[in-house]
């Protein structure tokens, strides 16, 4: 590249001396303060690199030792302090009181939605839609332990069959086949009777045989006509909602080998205010009683 600085005959301007294929670049000088601004930016960035983590190198944390993660606890604490007055009111109130107060209810529903997504949705699904294999829907009108505020809160607090609380819900259903209480034919007959409760029996003789077996083995918990028992956590057998599937094979499996869903106890894991918010939120999902 030639570097012959000369005067351009057309414009009377000096060239930079740069020439490409006969095209010469005119020198239109930048103001010097522009250059100094550029230097100032470089100086600023150097200071920044020294003070803050700016290099993709482990350990290059900067002299101030600032990290986004390190700054988080203070932000969280500030946020917690900001909502604390409301949380205190939520702690002091019962779910019924919260639901009756529009301000508290709005806060509880918003907070409950977040707490549910963080803690509950893993099993119960987004919006409490439930999941196959023993994770009940919380949006429908069928409750194993009851759909009132108190019943919902009790389950959240103490859990189900997790052996984490003395007041936990859920008792064990016997595995009738494994324990030898019923043989394979008897299990099948009992299942035929259970299906007949929702009008789906296929073998009248088996249903009749199963009725006696049901009365002897099942009715004490599930009720004479399969109406269920919330105190014991025995699900209804006379409706359309089946936690583990409602076809015959699934019912046979339940009778033969038992089912025992487990839910942890959240008391002590969650702030009481959050338990209250979750109670109100779950109650409002659509099935609250």
């Amino acid at each position: 590249m030639a570097t012959k600085i000369e005067k351009d005959s057309v414009t009377g301007q000096m060239t930079t001396g740069h020439e490409w294929d006969g095209i010469k670049e005119l020198n239109t000088p930048m103001p010097r303060w522009w250059l100094y601004t550029f230097y100032a930016c470089i100086a600023f960035s150097l200071v920044w690199v020294v003070l803050y983590p700016a290099l993709p190198i482990t350990g290059a944390t900067g002299l101030l030792n600032w990290t986004a993660r390190g700054a988080l606890p203070a932000q969280q604490a500030a946020e917690r302090a900001r909502i604390e007055p409301m949380m205190a009111r939520l702690r002091a109130a019962t779910p019924e009181q919260i639901a009756a107060d529009p301000e508290l209810r709005g806060f509880a529903l918003a907070g409950g939605r977040v707490a549910f997504a963080n803690n509950c949705a893993g099993c119960h699904g987004a919006g409490g839609q439930g999941a196959p294999g023993g994770f009940p829907s919380l949006a429908d009108d069928d409750w194993i332990y009851g759909g009132g505020f108190e019943a919902i809160q009790h389950v959240i607090r103490h859990g189900v069959r997790a052996n984490e609380s003395d007041e936990q819900r859920g008792i064990a259903m016997p595995a009738f086949r494994t324990t030898g209480m019923l043989n394979a034919a008897q299990v099948s007959d009992t299942a035929q009777f259970v299906l007949s409760l929702t009008g789906r029996g296929t073998d009248a003789a088996a249903v009749t045989r199963g009725q006696a077996l049901y009365a002897e083995n099942c009715a004490s918990c599930h009720g004479d006509r399969g109406e269920g028992n919330r105190d014991l956590g025995a699900p209804r057998l006379d409706d359309r909602i089946w936690l583990y599937g409602g076809d015959k094979a699934a019912v046979v499996h339940s009778i033969a080998y038992s089912r025992a869903g487990v839910m942890p106890s959240w008391q002590g894991r969650l702030d009481p205010a959050m338990v209250n918010m979750l109670t109100v939120y779950v109650h409002a999902l659509g099935g609250g009683e």
């Binding site: 001396g17 987004a126 919006g127 439930g130 359309r240 909602i241």
Partner: protein, 493 residues
């Protein structure tokens, strides 16, 4: 065989950077200057006074006529009130302003730059103060070249104090567009305003002080993008500040018989706020303020020569005059001939028609959008999880979130009805019922209320797949005022 020539050494070193040449504009009187003063007083007056205008909107609403309320996400402009989701109206205004700027530039050149741009207006004000304190051009040059004695220190201190005061008033007024003016003024004076307020106050004080006091023409020449692309708007039919070289050349002393009208007094150069010589022709640095027109007219008048040696003129006329007077000797005859071939500015041309078309189309769209703007809106959000809920009796239920936005003052209670296959039942959580058992949705003035609606299809309806339904909001007379369609979902089979 080719011979590689040795590279010759550079003949001279030219710096890629230029030192700042301070411009000392001289005072000027004339028509253009008077127009510029009027525009300055009008614009600065608007800027400083508008935040103090009051506008009664009733209780629970700010009474400031023009207010951008960031905290509550509302923009108030006299009788208009915009929500954030309507920010496209502001976008529309900016689009109209941009096209309007293009149109005006294609007709009258850089009038925006020369007369109305904040950079020009505040610089003009700062220069006026500078002149009042340090004197006119020659006095200022002398002051800067002279010793830094007591007079120098006094002049500079007073000048910068006055500049800073104006800059602070400017930064302070800016804050008032975003806060209640009397409240924030009192808070700032008593030291009770927040860090954000003081921060922006300091920022706009600093920018005003630096840009109008120190940077001045550097902003227009080096920082502003507008001079870079204005070339696409200007053509030979645009009015631009022009030196009529066909009349002025050759330059010479007033009593020189061979010389033409330009007496080379450099008045045009001395009054120029960007420090250029308009006689060199069209230049990037020229902001089209026309002060050289005033300066030259003044000189011509004193020499008893016709005004208009420098004038707002189209390049088309300039070329026509140049062609008509080519080879003629200086004198009255050449002047008459050059002026005679001029034609009136062509206003209607493809460029201006295009700008006018786009401008009116954009204006129509924005006007239509404004007239069709709804002050009460209903939004229906279907639950995405669960899509539907199986009920114990075999029925199905869908959940919806309804959002009712009321952009006006006043509260309403409106019955909600559901349109769909007969048998669907509608329940709105927490909603009171009217005499006919329909849920009443209440509004919040200038706010949004949110409702959860549960729609149940009882056992026996056997709704499968997707069924269209419509939520309708009725007024007191039972007329539908809002309708929102959605679907009721069930299992596929």
């Amino acid at each position: 065989m080719s011979v590689i020539q040795p590279t010759p050494p550079p003949v001279e070193e030219a710096s890629l950077y230029a030192s700042h040449q301070k411009v000392y504009p001289r005072v000027v009187k004339g028509v253009v200057r008077r127009v510029k003063w009027a525009v300055l007083i009008l614009l600065l007056g608007l800027y400083y006074i508008v935040p103090w205008l009051r506008w009664d909107r009733g209780p629970n609403a700010p009474d400031q006529a023009v207010l951008v309320d960031m905290g509550h996400a509302r923009l108030f402009f006299f009788w208009f009130e915009l929500w954030p989701q309507e920010i496209y109206f502001l976008t529309g205004v900016l689009v109209l302003a941009a096209i309007g700027l293009f149109a005006v530039t294609s007709l009258f050149g850089r009038v925006w730059c020369g007369f109305t741009c904040p950079q020009t207006v505040w610089t003009d004000l700062f220069m006026w103060i500078e002149r009042k304190i340090e004197g006119d051009r020659n006095a200022r040059i002398k002051l800067d070249q002279g010793p830094k004695d007591r007079a120098w220190w006094r002049a500079k201190t007073v000048k910068h104090a006055a500049w800073l005061a104006i800059a602070m008033a400017t930064g302070g007024a800016w804050i008032m567009y975003f806060n209640d003016a009397p409240t924030v003024t009192w808070a700032m004076l008593t030291g009770q305003a927040g860090l954000t307020v003081y921060g922006f106050f300091a920022l706009f004080t600093a920018t005003t002080y630096v840009l109008a006091g120190a940077a001045r023409e550097q902003v227009c020449t080096y920082m502003c993008p507008w001079p870079r692309f204005q070339g696409a708007m200007l053509d030979e039919n645009s009015l631009v500040v022009t030196y009529r070289d066909w009349r002025g050349e050759p330059r010479g002393k007033p009593n020189d018989p061979a010389a033409a009208d330009c007496v080379d007094c450099k008045a045009c150069v001395h009054v120029c706020p960007t420090g250029i010589d308009i006689r060199d022709g069209q230049q990037l640095e020229c902001i089209g303020c026309g002060l050289c027109v005033d300066a030259c007219d003044d000189v011509m008048q004193r020499l008893d020569r016709p005004k208009g040696l420098i004038a707002f003129e189209t390049l088309k006329n300039l070329a026509a005059s140049q062609a008509a007077t080519k080879g003629m000797a200086a004198g009255a005859e050449r002047l008459a001939k050059g002026m005679a071939v001029r034609t009136p500015q062509k206003i209607l041309r493809p460029r201006t028609l295009l700008y006018a078309g786009v401008l009116s189309a954009a204006a129509m769209v924005m006007l239509g959008a404004w007239l069709l703007r709804e002050t009460l809106t209903l939004t229906v959000l279907r639950d995405r999880a669960p899509l539907y809920v199986q009920l114990s009796d075999g029925g199905l239920r869908n959940g919806f979130t309804l959002k009712l936005a009321q952009k006006l003052r006043g509260e309403l209670a409106l019955p909600l009805v559901l349109e769909g296959p007969p048998g669907l039942r509608l329940l709105v959580q927490d909603a009171a019922l009217d005499a006919e058992g329909r849920p009443l949705l209440t509004t919040r003035e200038d706010g949004i209320t949110q409702w959860r609606a549960l729609v149940t299809a009882p056992e026996g309806m056997r709704l499968r797949g997707s069924t269209p339904i419509t939520f309708r909001l009725l007024d007191a007379q039972g007329r539908t005022i809002l309708r929102q369609s959605s679907v009721f979902l069930g299992p596929d089979r």
